[in-house]
Symmetry: C2
């Protein structure tokens, strides 16, 4: 029998590493971080629990590689939004950052969950430093007064804080809600943009 049975799955998967990551990404988006376990990934790919361990070393490293994907997606989103935007530098940056967080909330959360992933994993370190460098670059293309470093910290903090609080539902609970003009994702991205104009 040298003609392979199309029903029988091969002993070697062929691209198991990617398949596991794809399954993990889908489970993260649809079922949440807690659903992403070694055994669930193995089940989704139809392999034994030890197979993902072989490719990633541990769950912490698997999640780190997954978060690296997230930082890549963030960079793609920032570059896309900022290239075709009439807005300027740091102000548009805040809107794009918040828009990404709202469009991929669980991935955004994972990217900062250093308790559950291995923050020193090589792919993650590379993807994260690239993304943060890009953030710093965009925040400094704007013309403005004062220390450029302070402006960068302010932009990033404002964007990160607003995104985080929005994902927790706290801003809607405390200040928004039906009839307040803060309902859709677009409202919040616009809010982020507006915040950059509020004077201290």
């Amino acid at each position: 029998m040298d003609h392979p049975d199309p029903q029988a799955k091969p002993y070697h998967h062929g691209d198991l590493r990617r398949a596991i990551l794809d399954a993990a990404e889908r489970m993260l988006a649809e079922e949440g971080l807690e659903a992403v376990t070694i055994r669930a990934c193995a089940r989704a790919a139809g392999v034994s629990p030890a197979a993902p361990i072989h490719h990633f070393g541990s769950l912490r490293d698997l999640l780190a590689v997954l978060a690296a994907r997230g930082f890549g997606q963030l960079v793609a989103r920032l570059d896309a939004d900022l290239s075709q935007s009439g807005h300027q530098g740091d102000r548009a940056l805040v809107g794009a950052y918040v828009a990404f967080a709202l469009s991929a909330p669980r991935m955004f959360d994972l990217m900062w969950r250093e308790d559950v992933l291995n923050p020193a994993q090589a792919e993650l370190v590379a993807a994260r430093s690239l993304a943060l460098g890009r953030l710093q670059f965009h925040s400094q293309t704007a013309i403005g007064e004062g220390d450029a470093r302070l402006r960068a910290i302010r932009s990033w903090s404002l964007a990160h804080g607003l995104a985080t609080l929005l994902l927790h539902g706290r801003i809607v609970t405390a200040l928004g809600g039906p009839g307040t003009g803060l309902e859709t994702k677009e409202d919040f991205a616009a809010l982020a943009y507006d915040l950059m104009f509020v004077r201290g």
Copy 2:
């Protein structure tokens, strides 16, 4: 034998609920959130694993009650710092908020970890809404231009984002470090204050 043996621990603890919470708070601060398990709390209090369940219902509820303590501590800190501060309203608020996060990093993290605690737990709901109401109050005592609601969202977002990024060590990695004037907790609290003066 009606005189109790001082060596023998009684079957009934007397104040087990508080003892469990105290143990959990200590373990959280010293060993991290992952060390706070039902079984570890039970071991620390010298009881069986089912005893904490009886008092709290589940680990998610135990952590929620613990987070409620955290919100109480935040309120105490805000009130203390803002009463004896020459600074005004929302600007001092940001500094005090960041100072709290840096002084109790793991508690601050837990307070927003709605995946691991029960966000609808009664004590937590009460303590959180009280704390957030106080935040809103302080942010609006300042005189300033523009929409008061926007100013409140901006203050809170800036404080929360800066605190979160500082705890992740990202700002130090990206922008601070030795020789940059950003090293101690006080430097960062001052940074938070300064950020409120940066113009958009």
